[in-house]
């Protein structure tokens, strides 16, 4: 049971990394970003190339991969997302979906369709209260919690963070204060993309790597965002871990149903709290 909880925490942490970008993009720009996990997939493949072909150390490879997706995130924001401000949700949805189609195809083009695997980079275990935990998973959960507090600090203490939070509440009023929001929007988008890539880079060693990996996890992340509330940073954090637990516990007792259970939870949440977007 302890191992199940550990697994749930790991999944929750990964979901948190990815969902935070979705939630922020939605809250500030009102764009439902289907292309969000494209940076996740690309980040993972870059990591794979760095580690297996260029023999870079895992730690540095991870940092380079996250940094390398930043320009990609910026390009997507500049040429696609920025044209979609104020559009109806259908068009933003279709356009970002088109971006994700193109992205997945590019990944298939460059790296091929065969699933690949990366080993656990730390390969150490820790003994705690009679249980052995892989250090790597503890590290993922640690980074997620650290990120949560860092983000809280960022939005409370820095001017940029305060502007972003204010824009989540009411964009028009922020604009009336004479603040040019476009710059902050691209910052939010790039931050979200980089965090998604970070999630991918951390998750890659314990999952299989294939071009459609982004699409499958994206659905879970949408569920997280819907359960936690769009544009709600704390809600996203708790929803991510709660749904991670749902996945882990279902996987223990009924393995094939793990992901479907998340959607059932989401449907139940929506029955009691409909979301008008």
């Amino acid at each position: 049971m302890i191992y199940t909880l550990m697994y749930g925490l790991t999944i929750g942490a990964i979901l948190y990394f990815i969902a935070i970008g979705l939630s922020l993009t939605f809250g500030t720009m009102r764009v439902t970003n289907f292309a969000h996990t494209i940076t996740y997939t690309i980040g993972v493949y870059l990591l794979l190339t760095f580690v297996t072909q260029w023999k870079v150390h895992y730690f540095w490879a991870a940092i380079f991969a996250v940094l390398a997706v930043i320009p990609i995130g910026y390009l997507i924001e500049r040429f696609i997302i920025r044209r979609l401000y104020g559009e109806s949700l259908d068009y933003t949805f279709i356009a970002t979906f088109a971006v994700s189609l193109i992205g997945v195809d590019v990944v298939k083009w460059i790296w091929g369709v065969q699933p690949k695997a990366l080993g656990d980079p730390i390969r150490r275990y820790i003994e705690l209260l009679g249980f052995t935990f892989p250090v790597y998973r503890l590290l993922i959960v640690g980074i997620a919690i650290l990120l949560f507090f860092a983000l809280q600090l960022f939005v409370r203490r820095t001017m940029v963070g305060k502007i972003i939070i204010a824009a989540l509440e009411d964009r028009e009023k922020v604009r009336c204060l004479g603040i040019k929001l476009d710059k902050y929007f691209s910052l939010v988008f790039v931050l979200g993309s980089a965090l998604a890539a970070l999630g991918g880079v951390l998750y890659a060693p314990i999952t299989s790597v294939h071009p459609y990996m982004g699409t499958s996890i994206l659905l879970l992340c949408f569920a997280v965002v819907i359960v936690g509330g769009m544009a709600n940073l704390k809600g996203t954090f708790f929803a991510a871990f709660a749904l991670g637990m749902v996945v882990a516990i279902t996987a223990r007792y009924w393995p094939p149903g793990a992901e479907t259970m998340v959607f059932i939870v989401m449907a139940i949440v929506l029955i009691f709290r409909p979301i008008d977007v």
């Binding site: 044209r83 949805f93 279709i94 189609l101 083009w109 699409t215 659905l219 094939p256 449907a267 929506l270």
Partner: protein, 325 residues
């Protein structure tokens, strides 16, 4: 042309256009095209007319296919009854799911449908494997009832063509009725419709169920056409095809749905033969549609037609008003 005969002429034109395709393609393929057109029509009712984008409409196609396939396998040897049972399966499923999904709007609507589609796909793949035979699917035999011989490709072609015309006629009537106007006003501004005293949830639910039933019909026809059902019929990723077809033809126009359906089928059937990266092509085409070509083929045609008519009228007027020497 008398106005009351207009419907008949329109149906004849549609039937004629599909028959024109016959010399160029196989009959089997055109049957496939027409089934897809029925599905796009059902999707257009939901997206083009009611303004609710669903990324999980294939669930109802799958429900229709499995409903028809399973009832042919276990319940009855009557293919027409099986089609009805397939529609009923999709309809019942939509009645239940509709209670939840119509409460959402915009992106949530699309995502919840997507989640339901994924769940349905998973149910068919894994927990219900005993009945549905999981990934392998199952074949259907004995599809003959007197004159209705679904074993023959020619009969299937005519049957599907007539079904398509019926569906088109029905949808044309429905969308131009007061109910259809109400559905279109929900797309424009739901709050105002509610202010007028209409229970919009009821109308959205009805439209959703209706659209899903038509999708179920196309699913049942798919099952009969291939004599085979497998989970690929409700693969979540294929939903983009319907969206693409609807947009390129012109959303909110029944003719647009037909043209879009044929264009999408032509692209997806023949482009992969020549272009390896056809998903990228589809993505780029979607981007172009969203940013530059929102009216679609039929919408642009209508605009061109009305412009031509306006300029013709202008010419006629100036001709009349010109001073006589």
């Amino acid at each position: 042309m008398k106005p009351e005969n207009r419907d008949i002429y329109e149906l004849l034109i549609i039937a004629g256009s599909f028959l024109l395709l016959v010399p160029f393609l196989h009959t089997h393929r055109i049957t496939d095209f027409m089934i897809f057109c029925i599905f796009v029509l059902s999707f257009d009712l939901l997206y083009g007319y009611m303004g609710r984008l669903s990324f999980g409409h294939l669930l109802y196609l799958g429900a229709g296919a499995y409903g028809a396939g399973l009832s042919l396998r276990h319940l009855t040897a009557n293919p027409l009854l099986a089609i009805l049972l397939g529609i009923a399966a999709a309809c019942l499923l939509a009645m239940l799911a509709g209670l939840i999904v119509v409460r959402a709007t915009g992106a949530c609507f699309a995502l919840i449908n997507l989640a339901f589609n994924q769940t349905g796909w998973f149910l068919v793949m894994s927990p219900l494997r005993g009945i549905t035979n999981g990934q392998d699917g199952f074949g259907i035999g004995a599809m003959r009832l007197g004159f209705f011989n679904f074993g023959s490709a020619t009969f299937r072609f005519w049957f599907v063509l007539i079904t398509l015309l019926l569906v088109f006629f029905l949808l044309k009537r429905v969308t131009s009725s007061p109910y259809g106007v109400l559905v279109r006003s929900i797309k424009e501004d739901e709050t105002r419709v509610r202010f007028l005293g209409y229970n919009t949830y009821l109308y959205k639910w009805l439209t959703f169920v209706f659209s899903a039933s038509v999708a179920g019909l196309s699913g049942a026809l798919t099952a009969l056409n291939y004599a085979y059902v497998n989970p690929n019929t409700m693969d979540v990723h294929k939903n983009v095809g319907a969206v693409f077809a609807c947009l390129i033809g012109g959303a909110g126009r029944l003719y647009g749905a037909l043209i879009g359906g044929v264009v999408y089928m032509l692209i997806s059937n023949f482009l992969p033969l020549y272009v390896l990266r056809w998903e990228m092509f589809l993505g780029l085409a979607l981007l172009i549609i969203v940013f530059r070509f929102r009216r679609g083929i039929w919408g642009s045609f209508e605009v061109w037609l009305s412009r031509a008519a306006a300029s013709a009228r202008l010419r006629a007027q100036s001709g009349k008003g010109a001073p006589v020497k």
